[in-house]
Symmetry: C2
Subunit: 256 residues, 2 copies
């Protein structure tokens, strides 16, 4: 029974895509089957696996707006056991195009239903906004991972995100849970990082992942080779931390 | 005659808000009059000046959606010669609410017209998306500053952004120009940074600002005190670089 996890935060540049790609790769390299859904018009999760959606006939855009079957958009990723549903630039129009469609918030949920059980995990990379693409992801998901950078603005946006999660729980997806809050780009030498991490643990307590992702330049180099960091440099700090995160996610799933 | 400059890039976390706040402060500290317009629902530019929009009766939301006069939303900033039009969380609904409104792309242009000449510069901080809030900013602006982080994903999103700028030039604002591309969070020790900076200069040539903003932790500490870095730590590398940027912007304006 596939677990669907959305990776969301409307604050930009906090490591959503980096987490989707590398958590996905770590789970796949441990033998789980993974589907990575790129629902960000920027298409960074697609290109992080060397997949270019713009040239593809069926992408997440055709599935959400054109009601194509999700199956038709699936592409094999460069990592075994991992498939990708790519995004494309044309997805940028979806927010406006979906506005007046009936049941616009459940398009993703419905299109995912026929195929979700083929995978152990479905990860959905979200754009940096709380618009219809992110709402669709939260409606389709069992749980949500919230990456936060250890910076001041990161804490500011959390109330808005939690409000959006609560609205989805009350109106669209009663069972949506918070899988965890993930501290990213952590630099232990910086006071600001330690302060923000402390406040996040006060605010969220046990829902903050034990695993903390350090700032590690290999993570930002890997996408230019179209590979997850676990393939680009398997023994760097970035790879170690995403493997640890994968173990934590699997353990949470098994403890239910 | 006020120059209106939008600060836009749909890629998240590239330094849009940090540039809006600190370029604004640097211009004001050199005696120019500045209006900072926060059109991001996250409200980071507002809180970077210690202004909380949520409790305010009139914010950018009431101006864009409720057709209130811009004048009613203006708040004095903590820096002399600098006023702020704050955002509020409720702005997150504006993208959907504006979709079916007549002339939805020119709401900001029209509300800015009565007051723009009171300021030498109007800076508009944009959210990380190419939706109606950013389109409104590009339609109201004389020029746009494009901050880019020296990372791989930064180059990927540029074509999408340039397409959006071209569409606005062709349909809504013929005179919109690119004020410049600003390299941010530059760390000269990293190969990736040097590579991306080189590619940006190839792609944009003379339109890349001479000034490069270094990665500097003081820039990320300042917002937690509700102050621009030029007030928080006037002699750090971050302050120096934003003062240099202000001089470059003023020089460009005077050379026309
Ligand atoms: N732990 C890390 N250490 C160093 N660099 C990182 C780390 N995580 C992410 N990055 C880099 O920081 C930038 C932002 O990360 P990423 O694109 O994953 O964030 P995002 O939240 O998906 O952004 P957006 O809001 O635009 O979708 C990228 O250039 C990425 O390569
Ligand atoms: N030159 C810099 N050196 C170090 N930190 C920086 C620098 N510029 C910005 N930051 C920090 O990086 C983070 C992202 O910057 P900022 O919020 O300005 O980007 P943004 O493009 O406005 O993000 P969003 O897309 O969410 O609106 C912030 O926490 C900020 O304090
Ligand atoms: Mg992303
Ligand atoms: Mg911002």
């Amino acid at each position: 029974m596939g677990r669907v996890i959305a990776i969301a935060n409307q604050k930009g540049g906090v490591g959503k895509t980096t987490t989707a790609i590398n958590l996905g790769a770590a789970l796949a390299m441990e033998g789980r089957t993974v589907l990575l859904l790129d629902s960000d018009p920027q298409g960074n999760a697609s290109s992080g696996f060397g997949v270019q959606g713009d040239g593809q006939a069926t992408t997440i855009y055709e599935v959400l707006v054109g009601e194509q079957p999700m199956e038709a958009a699936i592409v094999r990723g460069t990592v075994e056991h991992l498939d990708v549903v790519p995004s494309a630039q044309r997805l940028v129009g979806a927010e406006i195009e979906l506005t007046s469609v009936i049941a616009r918030e459940t398009r993703l949920l419905k299109s995912l239903a026929p195929i979700r059980d083929r995978y152990d995990y479905v990860l959905i990379d979200c754009p940096p906004s709380l618009g219809l693409l992110t709402i669709n992801a939260l409606t389709a998901a069992d749980s949500v991972i919230i990456p936060i950078q250890c910076e001041y603005y990161a804490l500011e946006g959390l109330t808005q995100l939690l409000n959006a999660v609560r609205l989805v729980q009350q109106n669209l997806n009663r069972d949506l849970r918070i899988e965890g809050v993930l501290l990213t780009m952590y630099d232990s030498r910086l006071n600001l990082c330690q302060q923000v991490a402390g406040e996040a643990r006060n605010f969220f307590s046990h829902r903050v992942f034990q695993t903390v992702i350090p700032r590690n330049v290999r993570l930002s180099e890997a996408p230019s080779f179209g590979k997850p960091v676990l393939v680009y440099d398997p023994h760097c700090a970035g790879s170690e931390s995403y493997r640890a995160l994968a173990r934590e996610v699997v353990q949470n799933a098994e403890e239910g």
